[in-house]
Symmetry: C2
Subunit: 647 residues, 2 copies
């Protein structure tokens, strides 16, 4: 929303005649195209722009035609410059203009008629024929004056367009720039061991808002199934009183549109949401289309599930494992139309409660055509709805989910913990054919993902992963409080599951635990809010470093004015230093002499100069710089050592 | 023709079920698809191949489906390996196989029925249920045996294909590999100043065949216009007796289907063509759709030309220049259907005389849709017809002509005379999105193009440009005898026109002129004929050199076995030496120790080793190496100096 949209097209024809090209665009559903001229960039490549001013879908296309009048104008200039006899050319011009004059109305028709008469008169005017260059000079300036008058009435009956028009969906700003904080509301009670409620969760919100997040995302808030309910640390059968996994959705109290009684009521949820909004936080809900055996749909719509040869419903399974607290939904059911309506209604129900952001659980295991359909349905109700795809699957399937409409997607970021491989991954995500539709949302951790890096890298690892997530992409999120409290012990060696994971038990957190990152996270989020380049995914550039554990990259704003340079020490255990050779051309700073970089994270200011500059990062202090490039030094000749602190 | 065609596709679905994918192909016009299985390459990328065995168009597409039986097989294996209870799985397998058994006939139906019964029996067989791994072992090997039996009868009613099938046109081999020799038959008379005839031209053919060419291309052989006939060196009005330009087509004797009387008769042309064929030479004719004012069409079809305001026919013009010996054809005439038929009939007439190759003059100044239509029409008559596009225009228009059907195209090769820019140009031509449809035909000179390089570079320049044209691309040509006789004087300084050009006058050539390149050209053409990598455009790789005046590149054969390495000194005036660092991986020679390179041009043999090897090229001797890489040395440890001659 609010962006200027750039359309490029190859436009060409045989021969040497002049082409006119127009960019046509309209809101989907509108009958009238707006149009603006496109400009040639050379080599048959043309460009045009329009502004994306409203949410929803715009259609656009290109229309072009071979124009006889502008061709005549340009040839006339060349005949005159070459000293040719132009009497016949002038008569021909009058003939070419006549149909346009016929199409024009009122004042414009009269003006065109006037030119036709003048062209005819000049074709017999000995003074003009003796010195035709008069036609190109004041006051006549024929070839400058005729085209703008004529073009609105050009004959476009043979204009050509591509077979299909294209479309672009305009999303609200938060689809492009968002900072997510995921937490389990049931772990927010003040008393150790108590099940938290929405009121408790509301009391957790000010701290989250102060840290600078703008989306709070809750795991499923629905009744938790009882049958085969999991125990702590994913024990197959839990003990009585175990709270189970929130992703085993549905019980006697209801399914996907009900609220887990221990969290409170729907009214309590709405109060929570209202409190969040007061604090500038949007609530995102988890949509996990799967059912516990106790979900009402199991008895109301048994045909929505797959059955085994003995008539029983098939559990979620990944041979040789079965997940006996969950039934997957059968998207291939004969009753698919009712099923799809029912699933859509889950979204609509929560949209009715004021929720506009959803994180969708494992969408790649559900039918792609369903997503394509349901996202359209939701956007018709509210074009500001945003869906985050939790797909950790192969790239083409993740990209396909973006193509069918998901606004944001989880990525492989969590597992890219070496500088070169992360740089390569960024190149993949920013490649043409991906960047146009795929918006990555980087998460250093989730309730399912405690990476080896976080398990073994200590506090520096948490800081590095946060800085990378928050600066490489404009959308990022953390799962807290485990993140800011540096939780790093896995359930088993080699596992990425948290020990005593909140997925299976209620936790109570000491938010003031020494070494926590609350302050650091607040600073990073403030830097994001204050620096427009960090609010977009475009403008990313990776810069060379002579030490591959130092990853250096920059983000520039859409106008190129603001510039952020990030340097990260990917080695969590050792001081690393090296020379960063910023590509000044990529930063729009060709020919700059010295310039100042201001570390927004640690506060230092350094004078840098073209060529490599020295950087040294101690993970024990701060493993990253987030520099803003300040206006180039007024005195480019003042001597300085690269990387030497200014203040 | 004869190539194996590789089709790659992204094939994926939601969920974890198994996909089957088939490559379908058929000759255009056939109703029956042939099909072969595609294989997954990983990351949802699949590949399949079929052989291009006939000329003309093949259609192909990909069909894929989610298969329940193969999914069941793969899950069964995992259940068994995990020690799960598989009784229900076996019953489910029987249910899944039943519809396929119903679709099968005869023996296959009985076999499938047999499996169904066995699955049901095993589901109650305590021995099997106690040790289900028996199902995966001899003699049962269930999951190996069922799929090939089942798959021909799989339910493909929900299989999916792309919306449109694709097509590939199979051309005859000469479209891929050809060596052209252009000459003016009127300059072949044995007496100085005489107008040569087809009989004279036939006597010129053995020398051309001995040089190793396989296409002889003649400028227009039609009656030359009289009105405003050009004089020598493009003088606007010629003197009586001047022969004029063969591109000013048409006179009282006829137009595009007539033969210029001074060359002989149509019978004489056929005799010339027959003689060429005896020598292994194909005759290519020039098709220039433009008319002299004396062309029969001017009176028979005046509506095929553009008229000016005074009723006169418009000359060919490029303001401020007019070409008063030529009328261009108006492709926008209301009578376009008759015009198109008439132009097509010109091709058909000459195809009737046994001509199967045409060089089309300036196709980019004629309507693209005409070419698309006419090329289809011609290929329906003879799928072996080949058209070379003489378009020197912007890249997208040249590429478009290839897309509408031209088999080969002229290029900017003539003007790329620095190593790095030629390397860059080759990368452009070999880029995905170009290489699939655009076949370059490299010409060091043409009757219109005597480049500055040839004007100033002396004999070495001619040798270099020949070697480059003949080895960078599989299709190339020269305009002789001026090329092999080192003609290099322009009409005016700064012009690319030949002095005393054959375009406007009859010339007599001393073919034994000292220093001529006949022998050198013969050698290069022989190297092309004997080395398959030089007969294709794929397999090109540019290699690094530490001296940018030394351009190094390689061609490898389709099977990767044959390898040619070319090194050219682009500096025509000085000896250049440097180190060529062959990319052995690109040559399929990773891990090779020493190897021998054999210079097919100068005859030397050198022992090279991994890493840079020394090359020194003296333009006064031979400015290029064309190496064949011989089998790697049997003793990779034998010491040698890089680039040291072996013999």
């Amino acid at each position: 929303m609010g962006d200027r949209f750039k359309v490029q097209a190859d436009v060409f024809t045989d021969g040497h005649d002049r082409i006119e090209a127009r960019l046509l665009f309209r809101r989907k559903g509108s009958r009238r195209w707006s149009e603006i001229p496109m400009n040639p960039l050379g080599n048959d490549h043309w460009v045009g722009f329009f502004d994306l001013e409203e949410l929803g879908v715009y259609q656009y296309t290109v229309e072009a035609w071979v124009d006889p009048v502008t061709t005549w104008c340009s040839e006339l200039e060349r005949w005159i410059e070459g000293g040719a006899d132009i009497a016949l050319e002038l008569r021909e011009g009058a003939t070419l203009l006549r149909p346009a004059a016929g199409r024009a109305r009122g004042e414009e028709a009269l003006e065109l008629e006037g030119w036709i008469e003048k062209l005819q008169a000049w074709s017999q005017d000995s003074e003009i024929l003796a010195d035709p260059s008069l036609l190109l000079q004041d006051p006549i300036r024929l070839t400058d004056t005729i085209p703008p008058l004529y073009l609105p009435h050009a004959d476009r009956s043979r204009a050509t367009r591509p077979r299909r028009s294209l479309s672009v969906r305009v999303d609200r700003e938060r689809a492009r720039f968002s900072s997510w904080y995921e937490f389990f509301p049931r772990s927010t009670a003040s008393e150790e061991g108590e099940h938290g409620t929405f009121s408790d969760a509301a009391r957790a919100l000010p701290r989250i808002a102060e840290m600078g997040f703008d989306v709070v995302y809750l795991p499923p808030i629905h009744p938790v199934g009882r049958t085969n309910r999991k125990g702590p640390n994913n024990r197959v059968i839990g003990a009585p009183g175990d709270p189970g996994s929130p992703w085993a959705i549905g019980g006697p109290e209801g399914g996907h549109t009900a609220v887990h009684p221990e969290l409170g009521t729907l009214d309590d949820f709405r109060a929570f949401r209202t409190r969040a909004e007061e604090l500038g936080l949007e609530v995102a809900l988890d949509v996990a289309f799967q059912c516990s055996p106790d979900h009402p749909w199991v008895t109301e719509h048994p045909q929505w599930f797959r059955h085994r040869a003995d008539g029983s419903i098939r559990y979620a399974e990944n041979p040789p494992k079965k997940y006996e607290d969950i039934y997957p939904i059968d998207f291939e059911t004969d009753d698919w139309e009712a099923l799809w309506d029912g699933l859509r209604d889950v979204f609509l129900f929560w949209m009715g409660q004021g929720v506009r952001i959803f994180r969708v659980d494992n969408p790649h295991t559900k039918a792609f055509p369903f997503w394509e359909w349901v996202i359209q349905e939701l956007l018709e109700v509210d074009p500001g709805v945003i869906l985050l795809s939790e797909a950790f699957t192969r790239p083409r399937r993740m990209y396909h989910l973006a193509k069918v409409g998901f606004h944001q997607s989880y990525t492989y970021f969590a597992w890219r913990d070496k500088g070169p491989e992360l740089a390569q991954y960024m190149r993949e995500l920013r490649a043409p054919g991906v960047r146009e539709f795929f918006r990555p949302n980087f998460w250093p951790n989730t309730p399912d993902i405690l990476t080896e890096t976080l398990q073994t890298g200590g506090r520096p690892a948490f800081m590095v992963r946060l800085v990378l997530a928050a600066t490489l992409t404009a959308n990022y999120g953390i799962y807290g409080p485990p993140f800011e409290l540096l939780e790093h012990v896995p359930r088993n060696p080699g596992s990425e599951e948290y020990l005593d994971s909140e997925k299976y038990q209620v936790r109570t957190w000491d938010l003031d635990r020494p070494g926590n990152l609350t302050e650091f996270i607040s600073r990073v989020n403030r830097i994001r809010r204050e620096n427009p380049p960090l609010q977009r995914d475009d403008g990313l550039h990776i810069h060379p470093s002579d030490n591959e554990t130092l990853l250096a990259f920059s983000k520039t704003g859409p106008e190129g004015g603001d510039r952020i340079v990030v340097v990260v020490n990917m080695d969590h255990h050792h001081v690393q230093s090296g020379w960063i050779d910023l590509d000044l051309a990529a930063l729009g700073m060709e020919g700059t002499g010295e310039y100042e970089v201001h570390d927004l994270l640690a506060g230092g200011r350094y004078r840098w100069r073209p060529g490599p500059n020295y950087v040294r990062l101690d993970p024990g202090v701060c493993p990253a710089h987030i520099f803003r490039i300040e206006a180039p030094s007024p005195d480019p000749l003042r001597p300085s050592r690269g990387g030497e602190p200014v203040a």
